[in-house]
């Protein structure tokens, strides 16, 4: 949860600040979401007509436990400017414990990415439940805002 709420607030403010000057609208962001919670949460946001930025493309997987961190790296390699992973809240996994495995791997990935030349704000993993459409909108808006503030990734090794 700390991932989801604590850090983005400060950084989000910075992103809004930057927004006035040099926001790059044209960023491509990949979202990898679990079928049961976050995909359904995104559906809920859609049904409630909660407006969101255009930059996100979703890839649906059964469970965040299915996500090999290399998939996120692949997205960066292929040109993604940001990658968002979202699943069920810890304790609520449809398959009991898939998101616990995911959390360990993704936490490690979070710490590795800066060493590979990917700014921390370009990657985020979080939890959005099937009933949290409003939270999905907030997560997407905040994350996309931060990636826009950074702009497209250019000339990087990965």
């Amino acid at each position: 949860m700390a991932q989801a709420t604590a850090t983005p607030e400060a950084a989000g403010a910075a992103a809004t600040e930057g927004a006035k000057e040099d926001v790059k609208e044209d960023v491509k962001i990949i979202g990898i979401v679990c079928n049961w919670c976050s995909y359904a949460g995104a559906d809920g946001a859609g049904t409630a007509r909660l407006k969101q930025p255009l930059n996100l493309r979703l890839v649906r997987v059964p469970c965040t436990g299915r996500i090999d961190p290399l998939l996120a790296l692949k997205a960066f390699e292929k040109g993604a400017d940001g990658v968002l992973v979202s699943g069920c809240h810890p304790g609520d996994c449809h398959y009991s414990e898939g998101n616990y495995y995911a959390r360990r791997k993704l936490e490690l990935l979070t710490r590795m990415l800066p060493h590979l030349g990917v700014e921390p704000d370009r990657f985020k993993y979080t939890w959005v439940s099937a009933s949290e459409g409003a939270r999905w909108q907030q997560v997407v808006t905040e994350f996309v805002g931060k990636v826009k503030a950074l702009g497209p990734r250019e000339g990087r090794a990965l």
Binding site: L58, P62, G65, R66, G91, E97, G98, S131
Partner: protein, 666 residues
Amino acid sequence: MRIGVFVCHCGTNIAGTVDSRGIAARAAELKDVVHTEDLIYTCSEPGQAAIQKAIKEKGLTRVVVAACSPHMHEVTFRRCVEGAGLNPYLFEMANIREHCSWIHDDYEKATEKAYEIIKMAVAKVRLLEPLYSNEVDVNKDVLVIGGGVAGIQTALDLADAGLKVTIVERETTIGGTMARLDKTFPTIDCSACILTPRMVDAAQHENIEILAYSEVDKVSGYVGNFTVDIRRKAAMVDWTKCIGCEICVQKCPAKAPDTFNVGLAETKAIYIPFPQAVPKRAAIQTDYCRWFQQGKCRVCERVCPAEAIDYEQHDQYLERKYGAIVVATGLDVFPWEEYYHEYGSGHIPDVISGLQYERMLNASGPTHGHVVRPSTMGRKDQEPEEPKTVVFVQCVGSRDESVGRPYCSSVCCMYTAKQAILTKSHCGMDTEIYVFYIDIRATGKGYEEFVKRAQTEFGVKYVRGRVSKLYEDTLPDGGRKVMVRGMDTLLGKQVEIAADLVVLASGITAADGAVQLAQKLNISYDEFGFYKESHPKLRPVETNTAGVFLAGACQSPKDIPTAVAQASGTAAKVLGLLAKDKLKTSPQIAVVDQSRCVSCWKCVEVCPFSAPEKQELRDGTQKSHIIETVCQGCGICVATCPVNCIELKGFTTDALIDQLEEALLA
């Protein structure tokens, strides 16, 4: 490979923001796409017929439908393509409604995004393979968690249809909230007269087993084959011997709070909640028992004619197998004392909750059906005082964002009208009754007429407005009153009423422990702890976990008719599931490439379902093998395997990479 792409308008739901016709035409330029078509309502009969026609006439081998969420219509379209002879798993949905047209306003940009979503789906569909379902045997026994009116209804319906049902109830008796009610709206039927015969029916039914004073400890397995550990809590009374004579209760010297009567009275450390309890068995609350607390007493043991008292009893664990699980865990009353400090936080004796008042109205309740001011109860040589002015306050813990309960509890308007009418009949027509309300929600059959009756026939005064403060005051004549200060928003002025009794229409909140149970069952719940149905209109009694169903107020606040109707609906759904002898399993499961398996058994360690097993090959080596009917298709093993020799059908790594690559190429 011949791919067909069908783009839905969904009336204007999609076409209002996305150029469905335009992108359908553009999709023709995608690799392997040989047919594209835009359809006004793809899910409709003509829409599905168009897909089937194109499959047959154009010889399509893969189909993409760009429409709503797969959660909405994936099953529909899989069935549709299967009807035209295509393997149902050679189909992919592109969600351009929930994830595009509904969340964007810019027509051109939304259209471009929708086209990209279609390209991603086409990229994925190219790599899909035909998949074939397996079949598993089905256990036809059903577990019902919660023995309130909803649980009882589902259990009886299922048992009448010939299925074996177990009701697990955490209290010592079934009956739930309804057992505590005096009358039911809008007919003013006696609640017990309706419920207790059903309780007895359940207890005597040859197909129903009631495990009272028990809780679900652990759930494993999957639809058709659940394994459930049930904890039978130690009652310190041998229930095979107890005859429910209540002699122990009469003789027990230790007092304990009476939770059944919501704290309005005291019970004994050994207790039976109410006279019509089913099963009627005594249990010791060890926290209050003198033997357990002070090491002396054992009165109950001496007086019990059945020799049923067993101070050495321990919790017992049962392991049971079920094919389906119905969750009917009901509700709790909103703990208003913790939130409404302006109403005295529970320190004003003459301010009580609706459920407490219900117990007071009940002939088997703590006052034997006499309406009295709690502050005057238990006085020496003086009878308790009957209230002359009663004020009801609605929406306490409902429709109040300041206490985190923005939802309507749906029953309080009606139970307040009922209690107001009953007050008149208990205390006389000259009793002054005021009801403070925000809106009156009387949407059920005969409900509006019932509220009108309270107002016209019984002269209950309805005041539109919230109550801002309740406080005790002494009038010049020495009488203690509860002062009710509120706003009459229709007159636009403050009102103050000196009341003898204030009844708060406390709302419905999720049952204590609801979230913990959800986590055991792997079902979703909302921010308030109510369980989430699979779809509010298409699958209202199913959860997203196959084989787990919902009934009653555990899903959302409900009155009795609605809970019972839903419970019967749930029973029908369970019967539909268990009418089959074999269940088809999803073929979207993990498979091991044994030629590359290094026998590290990490897949065995991580699988929550014990699907991977060690399989001995002809050369004597052991390799991982995933049991098809056990695998639930989560893919945890896929991401764990260090040599990438496990693949998840339908979500292969190559397909996922192609999908995201397509999104990034644009």
